[in-house]
Symmetry: C2
Subunit: 245 residues, 2 copies
DNA sequence: CGCGTCTTTGAAGAGAATCAAGTAACGTGG
DNA sequence: CCACGTTACTTGATTCTCTTCAAAGACGCG
């Protein structure tokens, strides 16, 4: 359907916003030319910094988080392959939160100059970047609804559905997702890790998820989507988000 | 300090992103030339629509909301004078939520064509619009933290502090804010209206807020900010957000 | 093996939802 | 002018979800 153009995850992600020209694709290939590796649980940027680079995820999982005065951590976004972590810094300046890896990652640094070039001289890419920012916002809105209005079990199921759909949009994946500890899961959902454990084992008992070495899989997408009241439209991925897998 | 350029609330808002040229200001004056009025509790756009216009708030208060299968409403954003309600539609297409007024409002419709013109041909305005989108995102992140991690009384106090700071950034206001019913307040905070009442009267008892005909005022900004653990940096307003009033 | 990290389970208690009544303020029509 | 309906606010009692504290089991690793 929306047949992605190449092996460049950034291009694949932005392709969801609409077709790009071969010239755009070449530019995007340059952008991801020089990746580097990072272990799990390392910070990319910390609150208050004013970094000169923007980061793109090629593989692995990265999160935005804030630490509260009482020491608790709130994870406010999950970045998957193809996601740009912090377009902010190119425009907003000082970081109002931190960014760190959850798993081992392959990443690319993009300079502010490159971002400015993409925004100023490549209208289709600019539009696509704007699109991805707006989608990020839509995801935040859904997380807000999720947190405020749903019980923890539905909320957790909803998160799984979302990650599943987002991974599908950049890379048809086969099998497992979410290499998260229960504490990280709790920090995303805004619940205690003890409760996260109980909720997760509840979902397992309902056979909505299976877990193998702290990796979650969804054996029956349709059923868990129904349970979570998951409506993928907010991801703005076209049919990709709606298809079972 | 950041002395706003004129009586145009859109220009004032965007001025927070950085200075604009006289030419930009003239263009923005054209944009808001033809306002219209709307009563409280009217929908501007509903979930699923694909509208041809974007809306700007000149006065009053507008909200984004989603309605859940169980009939409950979740308010996921508050738009104040100077805020553009739905840049989304110009880029994302189908609405994934609804937008409605909370109070009587003065608004402006902006056509998609105008938005495209601003984005394509006015680099400083484009940058400012991008800035405002990223600030909206930052606000959502803070709401998410607020909802997930703070007790309802701190959460409510935090909301009051935010609205106070945002109103100050476009228009030094004198006195009252938030003409909200307790049910609307509850729909923002993700709590029941009964609990909202108890929490509000708790804040009143602590003399952190005063209420007159369902309008909240903050008699001692410094004290309520401390209570709410409010740090205004996420609003990216420079000193405007930090000053008491 | 021992150590740390993560997971699992139990019991007690706080915060918020829900259900239920009752009060206050306001506009409307008789 | 008052009875009435409507809407918002207030209060109490009960129930539910989740937290906190505590401890024990599982797993991987030097």
């Amino acid at each position: 359907m929306t047949h992605t153009p190449n092996e460049n995850v950034l291009a694949r992600k932005l392709w969801n916003a609409g077709p790009l020209d071969p010239e755009d694709l070449r530019r995007l290939d340059q952008v991801i030319a020089d990746p580097f590796e990072l272990d799990a649980r390392e910070d990319l940027i910390q609150h208050g910094e004013d970094p000169q680079n923007v980061h793109l995820v090629l593989s692995g999982m990265v999160c935005r988080y804030k630490v509260l005065p009482n020491g608790k951590r709130a994870i406010v976004a999950l970045m998957l392959p193809g996601d740009i972590c912090d377009l902010h810094v190119a425009i907003l300046g000082r970081m109002d939160h931190s960014i760190g890896t959850l798993t081992d990652c392959r990443l690319v640094k993009i300079s502010r100059r490159t971002i400015d070039d993409l925004l100023d001289n490549h209208p289709r890419i600019r539009r696509a970047l704007f699109w991805s920012t707006l989608v990020d916002e839509a995801i935040l809105r859904e997380w807000l609804v999720n947190m405020g209005r749903r019980r923890a079990d539905q909320q957790m199921a909803h998160l799984f559905c979302e990650v599943h759909a987002r991974l599908n949009a950049v890379d048809r994946m086969h099998g497992a997702l979410l290499p998260l500890t229960q504490e990280e899961l709790a920090d995303i959902l805004g619940i205690s890790s003890v409760h996260a454990q109980r909720v997760l084992s509840g979902l397992r008992k309902k056979e909505l998820v299976t877990v193998q070495d702290s990796r979650v899989a969804l054996p029956d997408i349709r059923r868990i989507r129904e349970f979570a009241q998951f409506e993928g439209d907010y991801l703005h991925l076209g049919e990709a988000a709606d298809s079972g897998d």
